[in-house]
């Protein structure tokens, strides 16, 4: 292993996107048969690195050598030919095409046989599925599958042909415990066959279980390579965040305990089952669980974008019918969506326009005319209040860094004076600085008597910001931590354990 030869030698890689410096002078080498884990907070540049090595994105500067060859400006095809396979974070599957095609396609391209034949394709797919021991109908089209199953398909696709180097960018996010276990076993198997694996996951225990070496990235800069042996979760977390993460925990000071929002056993087939929870003025309710737990769906339902099948939603005691976002806004509900770029921002528009988007109604005069000055003033205030780093309110939003973009988005909803503020994974892809600022703002909101719901995968985030936490799994609430319980010293471990352990533990917790 010591004198194993390098498959990939990437040196001084820089990558800039408009507004973001995704990678900054990162050098990483990957050896045959080693399992390297990339660790780092959301948005630190892990996926970007993967994309660059996979020949999907071109680096702004730096050099890449694969198997000794210089591949700085290589295409995806070349990377594949060099034996690199990738499980992309967004899976990159073909919605309309069949499971079989999706799994087989990479192998077909690798072999480059001009003609294809159905039997062969099905064979490839079946074998790959057997490998991880799941069975999914081969003729189903991807769009009929759940997130979890899609993730499995993506994994199968990468395993279908024996690569020299396999990138796994957060392959386990939607998987259940035993699915994860079997996957990790496979990874170990690959290692034995001297195949290198680059594994990316936010679940540190997974990292610890398989990693030979760990490379930590922070804000697009490499912090260092560490042998997994002399590394533990605490240390790793420290390297990732750059400081002892100990935000002072938020506690609620409000007097009146009337329920602001009350969700009574709400159900939606395929998303979530009779969920009940409530939020009081000044509450910050944490909503956590595995991806695919149905939290976003729940949030969308409260925001009027996902009609529930049964159950009821009450605002300030009155049962309400929220059939579209406009209703929600009128009721004083705000939502910072999960996918900032797609669901939140108008990238080609100015901060001004982005902030004004949700409050057009309030800006309209009696002639249906928009009050420009008012909106400009609002934007100015927002920039002040949230310390958004821009030249002026006319600056296009796509020139801002991820953090500032997110701040602008929060400003938009702050401007709509919500009573209830839902933030879905608000700090994904955001640097630590902005992150703590955002926490600060959220807590300010709560102190001002706004009810807040934070959806997040990061236990640290949840624990330090929320006075109450609800854990969901597979669409069901498995545990609710009251304010008292939140005071427990080992609360982080508790929640971690519960989330990681998945369903079984969840059931116990209930009984």
């Amino acid at each position: 292993m010591i004198n194993a030869k390098n498959i990939v030698e990437a040196e001084h890689i820089c990558k800039s996107y408009v507004g973001v410096q995704a990678l900054n002078d990162v050098s990483i080498t990957i050896k045959e048969g080693e399992i390297k884990c990339l660790a780092g907070e959301n948005g630190c540049g892990k996926s970007t690195f993967v994309k660059i090595i996979a020949g999907v994105e071109e680096c702004t500067s730096g050099t890449i050598r694969i198997n000794g060859k210089d591949c700085t400006k290589h295409s995806a095809k070349q990377a594949i030919d060099e034996g690199i396979q990738v499980i992309f974070q967004d899976l990159s599957l073909f919605q309309e095409m069949s499971v079989a095609d999706n799994i087989a396609i990479n192998k077909l391209i690798k072999e480059g046989k001009p003609l294809t034949n159905k039997k062969e394709i099905r064979k490839i797919a079946e074998d790959a599925l057997k490998l991880i021991g799941v069975d999914i109908p081969l003729d189903a089209s991807i769009q009929e599958l759940s997130i979890a199953n899609r993730q499995l398909i993506a994994i199968c696709r990468a395993l279908a042909l024996d690569a020299k180097l396999l990138f796994m960018d957060e392959p386990t996010t939607a998987l259940t415990k035993n699915e994860v276990d079997s996957l990790l076993d496979i990874v170990m198997g690959l290692k034995k066959r001297n195949i290198a694996v680059v594994f990316i996951s936010h679940k540190l225990d997974e990292v610890m279980r398989i990693a030979d070496s760990i490379t930590v990235i922070r804000d697009g800069q490499k912090i260092g390579d560490f042998a997994a042996a002399d590394m533990d979760a605490q240390k790793l977390a420290f390297y990732m965040t750059g400081r002892e993460v100990a935000y002072q925990q938020y506690e609620r000071k409000q007097e009146d305990h009337t329920k602001l929002l009350e969700v009574k056993n709400l159900s939606k087939a395929g998303n979530y089952k009779n969920v009940s929870l409530d939020v009081r003025k000044g509450d910050i309710l944490g909503l956590t669980g595995l991806l695919g737990a149905g939290r976003t769906e729940l949030a969308l339902s409260i925001f009027g974008l996902n009609k529930p099948d049964s159950g009821e939603i009450c605002m300030e005691g009155k049962p309400v019918k929220i059939s579209c976002p406009q209703d929600a806004i009128d009721l004083g509900i705000g939502l910072v969506p999960e996918e900032r770029a797609i669901q939140g921002l108008f990238l080609q528009k100015s901060i001004n326009e982005n902030v004004a988007a949700a409050i057009l109604k309030r800006l309209t005069g009696f002639l249906g005319n928009i009050d420009q000055n008012k909106s400009r003033k609002l934007a100015k205030d927002a920039i002040e209040q949230f310390r958004i780093k821009v030249y002026n309110e006319e600056t296009l939003i796509n020139t801002l860094s991820g953090g500032n973009q997110q701040k602008a988005l929060i400003a938009r909803w702050a401007a709509s004076h919500p009573k209830l503020f839902i933030l879905d994974t608000p700090t994904v892809g955001i640097d630590i600085g902005s992150k703590s600022e955002i926490y600060e703002y959220i807590q300010k909101f709560a102190e001002a008597g706004i009810g807040v719901i934070i959806i997040s995968d990061e236990v640290e985030e949840i624990v330090s910001n929320c006075n109450r936490v609800v854990v969901m799994f597979d669409g069901e609430v498995v545990k609710e931590y009251s304010e008292e319980e939140m005071q427990a010293p080992d609360i982080r471990e508790q929640i971690n354990a519960l989330v990681e352990s998945g369903k079984k533990a969840g059931k116990e917790a209930q009984s």
Binding site: V56, A76, A79, I80, Q95, E96, K113, P114, L115, T296
Partner: protein, 335 residues
């Protein structure tokens, strides 16, 4: 039985319409149920069918092409002119020239789309004018009548696969046009479902970026797709001239929308990634049924577009609505 399973909702719907309509026409006028009708249908629909295959492929790849009539007439007419000047007597050569031109123009489309990265609709809209303009400037728009037509075209026009001599000693029979049609349909089927390129075309239509990541050379794929559309256009150009046994170079332009209509009726998704050859064929058949049964029905031509429009709307609305519901489930919002 397995074949039946393959026939999806849209196609059943279309078949139903076609059958019912045929029955109505037949009741109005039994003469409709004659071989001649069928033969004539094949002959007239040949060109459109070929073009439709091209449009289908383009649409599956998530694009759209409105320049193909210009391409077709450019190919056909240029080839005709060249044949007349150099008095080329071989049909094969005629086809070759036309196809060559077709492919060339198709490639131009692809290149522009790759460079400009804009809706293919707008780009092909522009190129359509350009192609046609260039043609008229290079070779004019002079009509060519049956008498001046090189004989290989006349031969093609009247050639039959098999013929039954009717009591008037006339030969009614299945036009040879059926051969290129069948070939093109087969070729398209093979490309789409039996080759890697085919997979690439579908992949491109589903998710351009993912196709790139999977290792397809998207640029080459596009070149192929639009080149193939041009290729079919070239073939159609010749068929078109032979079809009327004379050519009026300006008459084909403006038919693009009807061809696209056929493909869409056939259930192809304009958003890309999905489309069926059989459905497209049904679409073409339906379209020509409407166009070619007016005399039997004793209808004046006046209302035919109206019916066409209604059927178009119904079929696209029914299909799109299902997709909409599906998408909503996955939090994909489409207006």
């Amino acid at each position: 039985m397995k074949g039946l399973k393959k026939i999806d909702k849209t196609q059943r719907f279309l078949i139903a319409i076609i059958v019912v309509y045929c029955i109505i026409v037949a009741m109005r006028n039994p003469a409709f149920l004659s071989l001649t009708t069928l033969f004539n249908m094949v002959r007239s629909a040949a060109g459109t069918t070929i073009l439709a295959m091209g449009v289908l492929v383009v649409m599956i790849s998530g694009g759209i092409d409105v320049s193909f009539p210009a391409v077709a007439i450019f190919g056909g007419y240029a080839s005709l002119r060249i044949c007349m000047w150099c008095n080329i007597k071989s049909l094969f050569l005629a086809f070759l020239i036309s196809i060559a031109i077709g492919i060339l123009l198709g490639l131009i489309n692809a290149v522009l789309i790759n460079i400009l990265k804009l809706e293919p609709f707008i780009i092909t809209l522009a190129t359509a004018s350009v192609f046609f303009g260039v043609m008229t400037i290079l070779i004019g728009t002079k009509n060519v009548g049956a008498s001046d037509l090189p004989e290989q075209f006349r031969a093609l026009s009247s050639a039959k696969v098999f013929t039954t001599v009717n009591q008037y000693g006339g030969k009614i029979g299945l036009s040879v046009f059926i051969i290129p049609v069948v070939l093109c349909v087969l070729l398209t089927y093979i490309i789409l479902h039996k080759t890697l390129i085919g997979k690439g075309i579908f992949a491109l239509g589903c998710n351009n970026e993912a196709a790139r990541r999977a290792g397809f050379n998207v640029t080459l794929l596009r070149l192929f797709i639009y080149g193939y559309a041009g290729f079919l256009g070239g073939i159609m150009g010749i068929i078109y001239i032979a079809g009327t046994n004379s050519v009026n170079p300006v008459s084909l332009v403006g038919t693009e929308m009807s061809v696209i209509a056929c493909v869409v009726i056939g259930g192809a998704k304009p958003s890309g990634g999905y489309g069926k050859i059989f459905g497209t064929l049904l679409g073409v058949i339906l379209y020509f049924l409407f166009n070619q049964t007016l005399v039997y029905l004793g209808l004046s031509a006046a209302w035919q577009d109206f019916f066409m429009g209604i059927v178009l709307l119904i079929s696209i609305m029914s299909t799109s609505y299902q997709n909409r519901v599906q998408n909503r489930k996955n939090f994909i919002y489409t207006e």
